[in-house]
């Protein structure tokens, strides 16, 4: 996923006489049309509708009224919302570097050719990706449990008292562990696929120049897969900001640690489906979407500029 040919996007191909190209020019729409149609229905229409919703407010008395940007003003001062943003922000700063760092280390180890049982290893680490977030959360939730989970077993077996992973101090780290477990293999595979296509001759040249392994990694491999690194980072940022499944499922196991405004998405969900505040819920979702896009965009700009 490192590069794309710019010509594919810009269009005109050198081949073929112009008259013929013009005649065919709408043919492409026949193929992309279905996608665009459904895309408009499930992406653009809801997006437009949620912007529309965010400008209104529904009250018991007075019904639905146009309130302009009032909802946005409310969201910007909403401490429940910002509490959630703070949590996913913290999550992002700690979990994403750990997960991507681990994924990169494994990918480099695989690519180095110095491992025994490389193929088995690669597929095994990837397998958790196939496990639904619901199952992963239930499973880890049970494992975390001090009653019949592994944590409880270890406590009994060694007569120790491990800190409870479901307590409010540790719950964010526990969620981070679940997400890391789910996605480390997936990211590893993205990095590994990018590493495999680095021309081998470059390593040989570096070796002849007397470069060590670390030098090869920092001077050749990492720059070569920068595109994959940036994309994985952006996807992870989006994923972190959207955090919902894991806390929502663990909520029953840790009702005191996980509140219904634990993450911005959870808050949106609670507002809409427990509180019936659809207008405000849409507003919160939009604000969160804008924050996500800004952060993703900044990361992309920085990531692509570095030494490029």
């Amino acid at each position: 996923m490192t590069t794309l040919q710019p010509s594919a996007a810009t269009g005109p191909r050198p081949a073929g006489p112009p008259a013929r190209r013009a005649r065919r020019s709408w043919t492409g729409w026949g193929f992309i049309g279905p996608f665009v149609l459904v895309f408009a229905l499930v992406f653009l229409a809801p997006l437009g509708y949620s912007i529309y919703l965010s400008l209104f407010r529904t009250q018991l008395i007075g019904g639905t009224t146009f309130v302009g940007l009032d909802n946005y003003q409310q969201a910007l001062q909403d401490s429940q919302f910002w509490g959630g943003v703070g949590r996913v922000g913290l999550f992002l700063l700690i979990q994403v570097p750990i997960m991507l760092g681990l994924a990169l280390l494994i990918a480099l180890a695989l690519d180095s050719g110095r491992l025994y049982g490389k193929d088995f290893f690669r597929i095994s680490v990837f397998l958790p990706y196939a496990v639904p977030a619901v199952v992963a959360s239930l499973m880890w939730g049970f494992i975390y449990g001090t009653r019949f989970g592994l944590v409880g077993d270890i406590n009994d077996a060694f007569g120790v008292k491990l800190p409870d992973p479901l307590s409010s101090d540790l719950i964010l780290a526990s969620i981070g562990n679940i997400v890391t477990w789910e996605f480390v293999g997936y990211n590893m595979l993205i990095f590994y696929a990018a590493l495999r296509v680095v021309p081998h001759s470059l390593y040989e040249a570096a070796e002849i120049d007397g470069a060590g392994q670390w030098r090869v990694i920092s001077a050749i491999k990492l720059p070569a897969i920068r595109g994959a690194l940036v994309i994985a980072t952006i996807f992870s940022i989006i994923g972190s900001f959207q955090l919902f499944n894991e806390p929502a499922i663990l909520q029953k196991l840790a009702p005191n640690a996980i509140t219904t405004d634990y993450t911005p998405n959870y808050y949106t969900y609670s507002l809409s489906f427990s509180g019936q505040q659809h207008n405000y819920s849409a507003t919160v979702a939009i604000v969160m979407g804008v924050i996500t896009m800004i952060v993703a965009y900044v990361v992309q700009l920085r990531g692509m500029r570095k030494g490029a």
Binding site: M1, T2, T3, L4, P6, A8, A9, G11, R13, A15, G28, W29, F31, I32, P34, F35, V38, F39, V42, F43, L44, P46, L47, S50, A109, S112, L115, Y116, V125, L127, A130, V131, P132, A133, V134, V135, A136, I143, F148, G149, L150, D153, W181, A194, R196, V197, H200, E207, G227, I231, N245, T268, Y269, S272, F273, H278, A285, M288, T292, Q300
Partner: protein, 313 residues
């Protein structure tokens, strides 16, 4: 998200994009100067291996235990009586066999949703890769930009829209939003650029084949590895989907496995609800087995498809 189209070819000459086919079967490295295997590195990676597999092992072992056995025995070893078959039977018969219904629902959502998403992505990727058409750049920009929009941000308005037209609480509410996979479109586009030589399409046209026929008989077979990859990833996304069905469906008869399992789990915390952790665990195991089997069996295809997505020199 123009990052997707920015090159990192610092070390490579910007090759003209006209060399289509040969790159696909990734140029395997030659092996003469193969580095020595390292025991230390292997040991370190085994730690990661254990991290990945031990929870799955726990799930497998726990699925063989009764409700009492779960609480009374060590998590990573078997309990006295082996209750796996009994648990599986109970899972499929509990609450009049609703689990089987959830399994069929999930299959329906996957076949129609993921299958449809893959089909749309293949068509669209082919169009982006092989046809110049008006508005192409706009289509690409909007779709890639949409990747950054949190899908959950769209869920609430989609729910409200669907409930206005009476689609909520029907399978369509889950299937229609599953039909779009921007990542799938992107992957198919990158794949199609290289997999289908334009000359071949020209040849088919000269032979009098229409566009539809050219697509099905010339392009589609060449796109197979990419298609399998996209199909697997959209299958995972649909099979594992939780948020969307959670908000769209009220009637347990339409639940997919994920929402159903969560409901069984929550039962234990509701007043007067029956505790069925052994069924939640066995049901979880049954839920993940088909996907893991698919990934293992189709390894060759999706790994080459994924690699091709990143083969760009």
């Amino acid at each position: 998200m123009t990052g997707l189209s920015t090159t990192t070819a610092a070390s490579r000459p910007a090759a003209p994009p006209k060399s289509p086919a040969p790159r696909l079967r990734a140029p395997r490295r030659h092996t003469p100067g193969r580095p020595k295997r390292s025991v230390l590195l292997t040991v370190l990676t085994v730690v990661v291996l254990l991290y990945s597999l031990v929870p799955l092992l726990w799930l497998l072992i726990s699925a063989t235990k009764t409700q009492q056995g779960l609480a009374g025995s060590f998590g990573l070893w078997f309990d006295g009586d082996f209750a796996l078959w009994d648990n599986i039977t109970q899972t499929f018969t509990y609450q009049d066999g609703v689990f089987g219904r959830w399994l069929l629902n999930t299959l329906l959502y996957v076949v129609v949703g993921a299958g449809g998403a893959t089909f749309l992505a293949v068509l669209g990727g082919y169009a982006l890769a092989k046809f110049p058409f008006p508005g192409k750049r706009a289509v690409f920009a909007v779709v890639i930009g949409a990747v950054a929009v949190p899908t959950t941000a769209l869920a609430v308005p989609t729910f409200l829209m669907f409930s206005k037209i009476g689609l909520t609480d029907t399978p369509w509410a889950v299937i229609i939003p599953s039909l779009i996979s921007p990542f799938g479109l992107y992957l198919m586009w990158v794949f199609a650029v290289e997999a289908i030589p334009t000359e071949l399409m020209e040849a088919a046209r000269i032979d009098g084949a229409g566009e539809v026929r050219t697509f099905f008989q010339v392009a589609l077979p060449l796109l197979a590895p990419g298609t399998v990859t996209v199909l697997l990833f959209t299958t995972v996304a649909t099979w594992n989907n939780y948020f969307l069905p959670l908000i769209m469906l009220k009637d347990p008869d339409w639940y997919p496995l994920t929402v159903g399992l969560d409901a069984w789990n929550k039962q234990a915390y509701a007043a007067g609800g029956e505790v069925v952790f052994n069924l939640v665990i066995t049901g979880s195991l049954i839920t993940i087995v088909p996907l893991i089997a698919a990934f293992l069996l189709l390894q060759k295809y999706w790994q080459s498809g994924l690699a091709a997505g990143s083969v760009k020199e």
